[in-house]
Amino acid sequence: MNLLEIKDFSLEIGNTTILNGVNLKLREGQLHGLIGESGSGKSLTSLSVMQLLPSGSETSGSIRFDGREITALGESEMCDLRGNEIGMIFQEPMTALNPLMSIGDQVAETIRIHTPMSPAEAQAKAAKVLARVGLPQDKFPMSRFPHELSGGQRQRVGIAMAVALRPRILIADEPTTALDVATQAQILDLLKQLVEEEGMALLLITHDLAVVADLADEVSIMRHGEVVESGDALPLFTNMQHAYTKQLFSASTHVPTRKSVKPSEDGRLLEVAGLVRAYPKARTSLFSKREVFRAVNGVSFEIHQGENVGLVGESGCGKSTLARAILGLDRVQGGTIRLKDAEISAEKKIGHSQRRAMQVVFQDPYGSFNPRHRVSRLVAEPLHVLPDAPIGKERERLVADTLEEVGLRAEDTEKYIHEFSGGQRQRIAIARALIIRPSLIILDEAVSALDVSIRAQILDLLADLSDRLTLSYLFISHDLSVVRAVTDRVLVMQQGVIVEQGNTEELFSAPEHPYTRQLISAAPDLNLAVERRQHSELRRN
């Protein structure tokens, strides 16, 4: 029996077709993965089920929940369904919780909206649910507020709110995208457990095939508002029919081809020795001494000419702080940074010759550009560190060439940044870094915000550039599969300290430090997951 059945459902918002004849079935006790890149309509599919569509939406087709036609229900009937029969978990655990309410009250509130419980009963029930999702009262009292919890714990509260009334369907919209790999694995385990033990149906929406590969019973692939392929997970993964599914799969496991470089011992480009970056913490009381938080605590490493080095670690481990210090953006409290045998420090003015040796590409393709300048000006920005920067026609020529080098067109120079997609913007960011031909580019989560197929293209571009121009990268990422694909050497960072470093392949195949092992085992791996499932399938037969 299908608990949820979406049939030929179409959605238009202000004359733009968002969903086009979507078909989707969800059975009791089943975990259904809905996969698509940004803009594919996967989130609006879930909002259609909740009937939480933006104003100006026109729909056709049918959505049946337990045999009832949802699209025909009124708002008050939908309110009964939401939370009670259909629960929802959101991507961003901080914004999905009310910061002024304790976690116990938030869960209890959800319960009291739908059931005639007394406040005390609701509190007791909330305590049970919170313990169920891994927040037992003795460790996490219900009087805690969201800001006192970590991201993973907040997401657990979000899950508790969604499952408090034991809904029959749980919709999770990118529930782990904002979380670290280790936390992601725990949350996915919890969701899987809830489905198995409570018999709920889970619609897990994600852009990441690897996330669902281990868990899902059925999978649907969405693109441009249509479900292009759908079916049981394992047959679908092993025998993909639609071209887009194949493309998505290969993009997710994409490894760019690179010439392997043998870095020469004397070609030292960057030397970091004993680097300390410390912040004073807030005073605990008026007269106490301010304690110091060491975000980067005695970090030493080297990057050689033409070498690609990865820096991995969880969010908050000090990766980006380290990058900022190397770039000379922040003062350091100890240690030295030498680039091409000249010291870098934020106190002194950094010479143009050093500036031209090092550039950066940031994560956010939207915030990285001044929205009021044209591309020609944005890309040409670093040129002023050149003593003989070209002017006039020559400058235009250089900007156009650099754009073509990163796969854009020379005509794009006259456009503004908002006319480009996320992937194109990241290409422009690379062009801006590249235009002065630096020796080192720091890539701070440079592909993390991109869809998998775009990410594969950008990784190819980076690999190609580094081969052709003997460029070094410091590739900072929380995504281990990406780091493994593009780097020669990896540094693993935990709480401001580099706990392990070594040749990429050696380190990934034989990690020594327990933290490295934990990171690697928690990271979802699409190929491995499919293999594992094939094995267990074989064993069962």
């Binding site: 000379g328 953006l329 500036r355 550039q359 940031f362 915030g367 990285s368 009021r372 801006r432």
Partner: protein
Amino acid sequence: MADRSFLAEMRRNPSLVIGFVLSSLFIVGAVISFIWTPFSVEDVDIANKLRQPDAEHWFGTDHFGRDIFSMILVGARISIAVALIAVGVGMVIGVPLGLAAAANRGSLLDEIIMRGNDLIFAFPSLVIAILITAVFSPTATNAIIAIGIFNIPVFARLSRGAALSLSSREFLLAARVAGKGPVRNSIEHILPNMTNLLIVQGTIQFSLGILAEAGLSYVGLGAQPPTPSWGRMLAESQTMFSFAPHLALFPGLAIILTVLGLNLLGDGLRDFFDPRIRRARQ
């Protein structure tokens, strides 16, 4: 910016249209008053005093028989000039101070600038304005200085805050990595990205300036007679309010409509100049 896109934008943005029409009405009136007014505002005509509005005197006449419509036109000139220059003074001094404070965040310079701002903010503005105009003789110039001083901390705080929030944006980090110094970044990246804030705050301060000028002239410390001013017209009308309410009505309406128009205009301009909001609406 092409005129065509401006016209297209006008149709989509009613507050811009209304604000633009109201504000330009008074600005045009003020400009016209330089070359022509229906009657001279300095001629006393006792025979025609306190006339109700009619075809000859559109807004009626006051207790000296002067044409109120003409006085409103000339008064617009004073109000707009005083408020505009005062806002200009505030911006020209306040914005660089704020940017300098933001660029040297936490330094002694930052402290001096911002505590100085707090000091000015802590004084009741109208009292200080009265003090200044009373000490240095009540003229329009002194009114400008008095109102202008109180605009400085408004713009300094606004631009410091905006600059600080912009300075953590990645495009400013990228510019610093590209080797650009704080002065250059402030001019090239920060200032253009806070123009919409400055425009909105500028129009609000402009309207507050008009109110402040009216207040100063109301207590007799603005432009001196015989130069007409909206504030003084209101002050003079209050003893005759029971039998000649039109004396208060027209200058009062002029103040309200100008202030309203400027506020709407500021709002509309902010939307117009911001490429992101424009794109979202298209």
